[in-house]
Symmetry: C2
């Protein structure tokens, strides 16, 4: 697996699994009916933000991450990031590799911390992954997320000093 | 004092005190050199978001607030808001009146909670005001804000169920 800059040519490989994840509405705060063009505009970022793909040896796009400032002004030293892994390729360390890549990027860019604004509490694999990379839950919005089958669940804010 | 919709005609009265607050960089995560046109685009919102002004009996603009969804999709039941009060008119209950107005708006719009994403810990008057209205600090980003004289200080996330 390699992680490299996402290009316009990668989008047709990203959108099918991204669309499934957004439409399921279990793990992300995107509108569930987000159109392809809007999703593309929200995900495919340009400098100083950045979007990458994780690609297998045979060229298959396994997952993607975007990274960007979380705040402006006096809080512009805090970065954020988002991740989507193709369900076909889950459990293969793609999320972890993307997470490590994003943390390296943020350190290299001079950020002092990474903050995730909205990690759905029932997304236990993601929570466990971020914890294993050093993140802590610094707060939880009670009933912050309406899960399609679980009802209202917590929405974690996770943080890691860099 | 009345609170009413902000119009384009109010902007020349808003910008002088807003500019001072942004340039001081002590309480807000705006870039300190934010231009007037960018500030206007960020502050003067249209439906479903909304911007209001607090106006004295003689028509003076005392302060302003904007209110908007904080998240999308499964978290779209959480609102956010921002407030600026002219320093000339601080201590007159303008912030409290705007806060109460915003909470009423959010309830009427069907939001289930209000979340402030970035309350600077040294802004003790704001923290005390929001607490008195029912907000709690659900988490603090350690060293989340670089204050121009205090150095790195905490950045609170405050929350109130509606």
């Amino acid at each position: 697996m390699i992680i490299r800059e996402a290009t316009a040519e990668d989008w047709p490989a990203i959108w099918p699994f991204m669309h499934g994840i957004i439409a399921a509405g279990e793990t992300y705060t995107f509108d569930r009916d987000t159109s392809e063009s809007r999703a593309r505009a929200m995900w495919m970022l340009s400098a100083p933000s950045r979007t990458v793909v994780a690609v297998s040896d045979d060229g298959t796009v396994l997952g993607t991450a975007k990274m960007n400032p979380n705040h402006m002004g006096g809080a512009s030293h805090i970065a954020s990031a988002s991740f989507m892994v193709s369900p076909e390729h889950s459990g293969q360390g793609v999320g972890r590799a993307l997470g490590e890549h994003v943390l390296s990027w943020a350190r290299a860019e001079g950020y002092r911390a990474m903050q995730f604004n909205a990690v759905v509490a029932t997304n236990v694999r993601a929570v466990a992954l971020w914890r294993s990379l050093g993140f802590t839950i610094i707060g939880t919005l009670p009933e912050g997320f309406l899960h399609p089958t679980e009802g209202y669940v917590g929405l974690h804010i996770m943080h890691m000093p860099l």
